[in-house]
């Protein structure tokens, strides 16, 4: 795209040649008093201008279309291929990212919620046994109590093995639930590339339009666009590059400092 930028500086050579010869002829015809022919030439001149404009717009539209059509992502398995093939535009794909990340977050939280009580129960059981053990060491335990403890320790080892297995399994699954990042990362990178490409194309269109304006001597009456004052109640979302901006806090410490300066 960018290697064609030079072309936008003017019309293509063929058009310039046509312009030159028609302009020369126009002068001759006007001098000769042949106004009907002169009018036809003026309209021809306009056509040369229009045609090169249309040609350029057409070219840009085609490459824009091409960029959007080439917007594809490599699926890793049949299921993903099916999901991705159903998506035709960037917003569908971003919606897919929202779904994937949401699913992974919920899966992770399911497993965490299942695992936390198990870890807590093991901790409580271990604390109980530690109390019993200290009593044995201080020789405070009755023989009957000791026989009872014997059985409980047997059961504890069985359940400890089982629970530790479950906890290990859940942690492995939490690890696997993070695999969304690979695919969502791909999707986001593709969408970013598309946005960049569309931006480049649009920029070329603007540059070209300004050249056309120069060539044709068109001056637009630009109305001063009123700056839209955003409602201060509306949120801005997460700030990118917060550290480089002075109007944005860069973390909780900044928030706390600001609030305490306000008397909080």
């Amino acid at each position: 795209m960018s290697n064609n930028n030079e072309d936008h500086k003017g019309l293509d050579p063929e058009a310039i040649e046509k312009l030159r010869s028609q302009a020369a002829e126009l002068m001759e015809q006007v001098d000769a008093g042949n106004y009907a022919r002169a009018m036809t030439l003026i309209s021809d001149l306009g056509e040369v201008r229009d045609q090169s404009l249309y040609r350029e717009v057409g070219r840009l539209t085609r490459s824009l279309h091409e960029a959007i059509r080439n917007f594809q992502i490599d699926p890793r398995n049949a299921e993903q291929q099916e999901a991705l093939s159903k998506m035709t535009d960037a917003s569908d794909r971003l919606e897919y990212v929202v779904q994937m990340t949401g699913k992974a977050a919920n899966r992770t939280m399911d497993l965490v919620e299942e695992t936390m009580p198990k870890a807590l129960a093991l901790k409580e059981q271990a604390a109980e046994f530690r109390d019993d053990w200290l009593r044995i060491r201080r020789r405070e335990m009755e023989p009957q109590e000791f026989r009872d403890l014997y059985g409980r320790i047997d059961n504890f080892f069985v359940s400890l093995t089982e629970e530790a297995d479950t906890i290990h399994g859940n942690l492995s699954e939490i690890l696997l639930a993070q695999d969304f990042q690979d695919l969502t990362g791909q999707v986001i990178q593709k969408v970013t590339a598309l946005v960049k490409e569309v931006e480049d194309h649009l920029l070329n269109l603007v540059v070209m339009a300004s050249h056309v304006d120069q060539l044709t001597g068109t001056i637009h009456e630009l109305e001063e666009q009123e700056e839209q004052e955003e409602s201060p109640d509306k949120g801005h979302g997460p700030q990118i590059n917060a550290a480089e901006r002075s109007d944005v806090v860069s973390g909780q410490d900044d928030v706390d400092d600001l609030l305490s300066s306000l008397g909080f």
Binding site: P232, Q239, D247
Partner: protein, 123 residues
């Protein structure tokens, strides 16, 4: 202690709910924006409100202003947990009467500290 959690993302509501439960607050309800939250607050006898800022429908700051303007709710402690990080927004929230402000991403320790601080000041 009955707490209302307001956030448009269910995952964030779930995270906050889990953290609150770890802190011993088990009686929580959820709402996905200010429009849903306000009638719940008016009829639900909540003791504490945790709200996001940026939500479709009614935003968190609008919800805070409604709460402060309502005679039966105006003393309700409000903690804002949000990604909104502009200084003038934090000042605006303070002026609107917020009791605490936590920026996302946050840690369990920060949430705990802010909640404890709010209750310390109330008691």
């Amino acid at each position: 202690m009955k707490i209302l959690i307001v956030d448009d993302f269910s995952t964030m509501r779930r995270i906050i709910k889990n953290l609150l439960r770890d802190l011993g607050f088990t009686n929580t309800d959820e709402a996905d924006d200010g429009n849903t939250a306000l009638p719940m607050l008016k009829s639900g006898k909540y003791d504490f409100l945790v709200t996001d800022w940026n939500m479709p429908g009614m935003t968190g700051i609008e919800l805070l202003k409604h709460v402060r303007a309502d005679d039966s709710l105006k003393t309700l402690p409000v903690l804002m947990v949000t990604a909104e990080a502009k200084r003038d927004q934090i000042v605006a929230a303070a002026q609107a009467g917020v009791n605490g402000y936590v920026v996302k991403p946050f840690t369990a320790a920060v949430l705990k500290e802010k909640i404890e601080k709010i209750f310390e000041r109330i008691q």
